[in-house]
Symmetry: C2
Subunit: 315 residues, 2 copies
């Protein structure tokens, strides 16, 4: 059985795969350089951004695609469905790095580290910076999956109040309260931090409109770590300019990479990071732990795979 | 009974004090402008930096000093002892803001927010920043009091391993392991973050020497949020220059304010913040909660006060 990776894990990881699965034949090659390996591959392991409606035609024997990320919006789902190809992803492995990043964002804001960094460069000792506490503030998390739940758990350790929004408002551990997405207006006026981990779907596209920012506290901080399609840059910029909220922190944008001349760069009261909240040295080891578990199941002819993607929902 | 505050709390707080203690007479005035109020005051409430060996002579009726901070190193202890004046402080109220600040520091480093801030200013979208996780790393805390314990508790929520150093190595909740200060060398080689909350005492002055930095991991981050006297700037600068550790984050320095021409400002791999990790809008309300509890006891002639300072130990 031939397995094609379109990225190259380090030697230790390659060796571990080959030793654990002696009957499989592994190739590690960029898709553009994979040649014959494409048509022979039964299993394809990818970050998910290189597969297109065109090049999937070359995968004659493909049975299973393992996407070692969580975002799947670029996948050619129609053909995958038609050909009944199994898709799994690495959902869940982002919980640790992304929840940590979320607290980095919130503490960056509340403890004013960016201003202190600028002061240090100017060799300026200024103690006149009123710092805030996370303690007792309200964190509203849009998306109560693995990342949102892990973030809520740590938020409770910080003494924050945790509220969540999901599709149907079902209760989730570590959330003091949850709301269905169609009642999003209810928790918005009480939140100090509004933090989105929502994926890109038909339902989440431009979900946040001007009316939502209008409902938020003037002191609220909006954080987007899910997908940029959640809010149009125009709506967000207008909310910031009208001072409807105090600050925005974005790890994701509608347009990535953000073009050098985009007005977002120069907007006051915004922190922009280049979509790297999930980056971690543990990323590939964790993703391959899921892959290896599924590969054992696949080789044994079992069908209980971890993280199967519902091709109709797209996540 | 006359009570002199050498700072001016906001009106709401003043009103609350006057209402809760109708028999006391409160004055809120800087010491240099307090005139007759000094000689009449039985109780003095201060940040602790304005009392000297000279001006304490003017306090003819002083029975109790409430210091609304934790650091007492500037107090004229000899005279206070001779006159048998009660001293209490606000120990414990720093736990929340300072533990939050500690995670701000660690996440600032591990998630490289300072570099991302600089990139944003340059309108540069660069994703090539290897981020680290707090998860699974080892945090060694010097000082296992209220602040250290609160920090260890949250560190465990982040999945960090927690080790602590205190005077006798006694076990403390939320620390996986503790060591006595005279065995400090033992945990140093395993720590990813070495975080000090130690106060300034005879024992802690220049406690950390070159040999200690030599024992730390090359990837270690040293964080000082206690008192600058813990380590001489020379020892620290040498350790950084010799790359014995990866990074230092200092909220306290041997000399404060740090002079504009001090070499520390220009040293690579260091973050300097101007001694404000305890700053919080909740500071005075929390300190006065302790004061009010003690004032009730004082007025009732009781002697079980919260946060009494042992004048022989100085803390």
């Amino acid at each position: 059985m031939k397995i094609l990776f379109s990225f190259v894990p380090n030697n230790e990881i390659q060796k571990d795969l080959i030793e654990q699965f002696p009957d499989a034949s592994f190739s590690f090659r960029r898709l553009s350089e994979a040649g014959e390996l494409v048509s022979e591959a039964e299993i394809f392991v990818t970050y998910g951004e290189d597969l297109t409606e065109e090049n999937i035609l070359g995968f004659h024997r493909l049975k299973w695609i393992m996407v070692v990320s969580a975002g799947l919006e670029k996948m050619p789902f129609e053909q995958i469905k038609e050909r009944n190809i199994l898709v799994t992803n690495a959902r869940g492995i982002h919980a640790i790095p992304m929840s940590e990043f979320a607290f980095g964002f919130m503490l960056q804001y509340s403890k004013r580290f960016a201003e202190m960094h600028d002061q240090q460069k100017e060799q300026k000792w200024n103690r006149n910076l009123p710092l805030k506490e996370l303690y007792n503030s309200t964190l509203l998390i849009l998306g109560t999956g693995a990342i949102g739940t892990e973030t809520a758990r740590i938020a409770q350790a910080f003494g924050m109040k945790t509220e969540g929004v999901n599709s149907d408002g079902r209760a989730i551990e570590h959330f003091d309260q949850t709301y269905p997405i169609d009642r999003l207006n209810k928790p918005l006026p009480n939140a100090d931090y509004i933090l989105s981990f929502l994926p890109s779907t038909e339902e989440t596209k431009h979900l946040l409109q001007s009316e939502h920012f209008h409902l938020m506290k003037e002191s609220a901080v909006f954080i987007n770590m899910g997908r940029g399609s959640l809010v149009s840059m125009e709506v967000l910029l207008n909310a910031l300019r009208a001072k409807e909220i105090a600050y925005a922190m974005l790890d994701v944008m509608e347009e990535e990479p953000l073009p050098a001349d985009h007005p977002l760069w120069n907007q006051a009261n915004i922190t922009i990071t280049p979509h790297l909240s999930s980056i971690s040295s543990e990323y590939i080891p964790r993703a391959l732990t899921i892959f290896k578990r599924n590969l054992h199941a696949y080789l044994n002819g079992e069908d209980h795979f971890q993280n199967i993607i519902d091709l109709n929902r797209g996540y």
